[in-house]
Symmetry: C2
Subunit: 434 residues, 2 copies
């Protein structure tokens, strides 16, 4: 096949077998989001460069990967790289939306990055965000909803890591890191789980942090234990800095709400969690599954980003689920059964003379909401049954001349290889029971 008829590099066609899986997963996620009171929102694929590149938005790393271009009118625009920036813009252009505004958004985003294994230039994200309240109840709800999503998808060994940017800010200030190096430090310590203590230390020093300071930072972020224990130890470190105490208090509140919501065993406080983006201002969270280094979801509170667009701050918190990685892990672990076709019943013609009667049966079943297909190619009986088999369609209805005279058809269970006669008048009832 000539390369030019493949989808563009880094993008994919989703054939039915893949789409059936994706739709099942996205529908589950959507229904959990909706049960938590999040409302649907969609924004354009294209955003103006001014929005995408707003100071304090995605930051330089993402911007470098932005799929941007000049449109026909000579305007610089780009395909959106996430769902948080568009939400912030929507809040700015609809200042009369009732708050809190709780929305979910499940859409494609684009990044023009290196194409290595499992990195795509077009991929799906599923986000929930609550805009308009500083209350930790909102953060707790985001985390609880995420936990219910992962549980409902069938994940068992997963954990939500919690931290607070205020605690980290207090830490770096207390050990004397200069303002302009703070984000560098955050990005380095965020890698603790992936690259280990020694490498984080090396990276900190490489970024111009004194060895002694780096040691202090590492001592702090390595603290382990139950949430209360970690928070107590953290509190001692940052006790002289208002921001630090606030951060600890927020996490305590958040955890208390999570317990009341009944999602206790799925979270822990990890003081090395920083998240790479510039815009977080409070709690940050991340979902990890056993034996997978990279997170499957991540988010946090960003009380100042909407202000960049609107001119006055509106607090907000949210999380983004990485759909591609979730699906990949679910496939690897056999958590999703592949399905070639959604069709439940295939109506098989014994020969050309029964086509008209078959058509009537097909339409009767479809009218009753059943997923039904039939032969469009004039294939022989054997060929039709081979097709039904190859597509793993569970039932075949065989329409024959003799049987039609007696007003019956044969119903074949393709998996069990059993066959029975059913009256046409009772077909709907019989099939609905299967």
């Amino acid at each position: 096949m000539p390369e030019k008829f493949q989808p563009p590099r880094g993008t994919r066609d989703f054939l039915p077998e893949e789409m059936i899986i994706r739709q099942k997963i996205l529908n589950k996620i959507k229904s959990v989001f909706e049960s938590f009171g999040f409302q649907p929102l969609e924004t354009p694929a294209i955003e103006s460069w001014e929005v995408l590149a707003a100071k304090g938005a995605g930051g330089p790393e993402i911007l470098e990967e932005t799929y941007n271009f000049e449109d026909k009118g000579g305007r610089r625009v780009g395909l959106k790289y996430d769902l948080t920036i568009p939400l912030s813009r929507v809040m700015a252009s609809n200042p009369s939306l009732p708050l809190p505004f709780k929305r979910y958004q499940i859409e494609k985003v684009w990044r023009y990055g290196d194409i290595t294994k499992n990195r795509y230039r077009e991929f799906w994200q599923a986000d929930i965000d609550t805009v308009g309240t500083e209350n930790m109840l909102a953060d707790a709800e985001i985390v609880a909803c995420t936990i219910v999503v992962f549980t409902s998808l069938g994940f068992k060994n997963f954990i939500v890591k919690l931290n607070n940017r205020k605690i980290l800010s207090a830490l770096v200030k207390s050990v004397g890191v200069e303002e302009e190096k703070i984000m560098d430090v955050f990005r380095a310590i965020d890698k603790l789980g992936k690259i280990g203590v020694e490498n984080v230390e090396k990276e900190l020093i490489d970024r111009g942090i004194l060895r002694n300071t780096a040691k202090k930072i590492l001592e702090f972020i390595k603290i382990k234990g139950k949430p209360e224990v970690v928070l107590k130890k953290a509190e001692k470190f940052v006790k002289d800095i208002k921001e630090g105490k606030e951060g600890v208090e927020e996490l305590r509140q958040l955890i208390s709400y999570l317990r009341k919501m009944g999602v206790e065993p799925k979270f822990k406080v990890d003081l090395s969690l920083a998240r790479g983006l510039d815009y977080y201002t409070g709690p940050v969270f991340e979902v990890l599954v056993a034996d997978v280094v990279e997170s499957l979801a991540g988010g946090g509170r960003y009380d100042k980003m909407i202000g960049l667009f609107l001119g006055r701050n509106i607090p907000a918190t949210g999380i983004s689920l990485g759909i591609e990685r979730i699906i990949e892990v679910m496939k690897d672990r056999g958590m999703i059964k592949p399905q070639k076709s959604m069709v439940k019943v295939f109506v098989v013609n014994v020969n050309d003379r029964v086509v008209d009667d078959s058509l009537k049966i097909v339409q009767m079943l479809r009218k009753n909401g059943m997923l039904v297909d039939f032969d469009l190619k004039g294939r022989t009986l054997t060929r039709q049954l081979e097709y039904v088999d190859s597509m793993k369609i569970p039932y075949a209805l065989i329409v024959g001349e003799k049987e039609l005279k007696r007003k019956v058809v044969k119903l074949r269970d393709m998996e069990r290889r059993t066959e029975s006669e059913v009256k046409i008048s009772e077909l709907v009832k019989t099939l609905k029971k299967l």
Copy 2:
């Protein structure tokens, strides 16, 4: 609001109130598509310029409107302008897909055209296509499925117009139109319903057709009556041209299948129907509703387009539903009830001291699949109820201290303004009945 924080020109944000409507409509369409055995497919937003501009694909008019640009790697690419070209490319790059391949695709497409009322640069289409059979059963199924979609959306006065490009080809050949003017003639006569006989005649003459020839063409395309009558009269005109007879025969077969499928009263043969695109080779169809000039859906058979990509022809037929126009007409006619929120029950706190108990109730209801929201801002009882009212959420559950002691809550029907006490242990059962 500065213009830069609006979505780019010709694109829209879909706020929840709009999204709730759109999701309902798209879900209905999707479930009809699935009942007819069509399987889901998705393709990238971006296609290579070679694919979009393939000779015999969308044609010069669409190409002029293509949202194209140079990507960062210096490749000319564009956002897809329809769902048929991507399907054709998918067929070419997956030559082992079992045929017939029946797929549906509901996605955004982009065209960089003039922005006038109801023309957008980013909009939704919903397509079904059957690839791999010349059998008129496939065309009949496409038309029948479309009719069921419109019926299920609540449309009553709509009609599917049918014609066949082979009949039109035979006509123009029989009256002596030169090969290179055929598409011009098709585009002119296609406007009959919109601009009337005189203007079509004028346009034909303007495009270099002799007055006498134009008269003959108009005489033909004006033929009216029941399908059989129109076809009989058309047959006489084109009887000496094999193509023409084939076209008439195909329509007869198509109509006969439609009758067997039980969708009789919704279609008619309209010999002026041509459809603007170059690639149709057989039956063409279009859905029109009373008092709306432009069609809400259109399609036809294109047996040669996939061959452009694959190198050998694979027959195909399909239709595209114009989601934006369908939604617009449904709104204009009051066929959709606006809905501000999907939330069914809002749990109201009488004061701060009941928050923990409220949270437990909220989570219990959500666990049971209900769409539930609660206060995240510490608002007063009155403010919470005002909010529930303004969002038209149907039920409020009022959690009070006294009531909690008796293990009950108050259930308020917001529309009827009635209130009753419900035991917390019976809440799920009671709410599920509402």
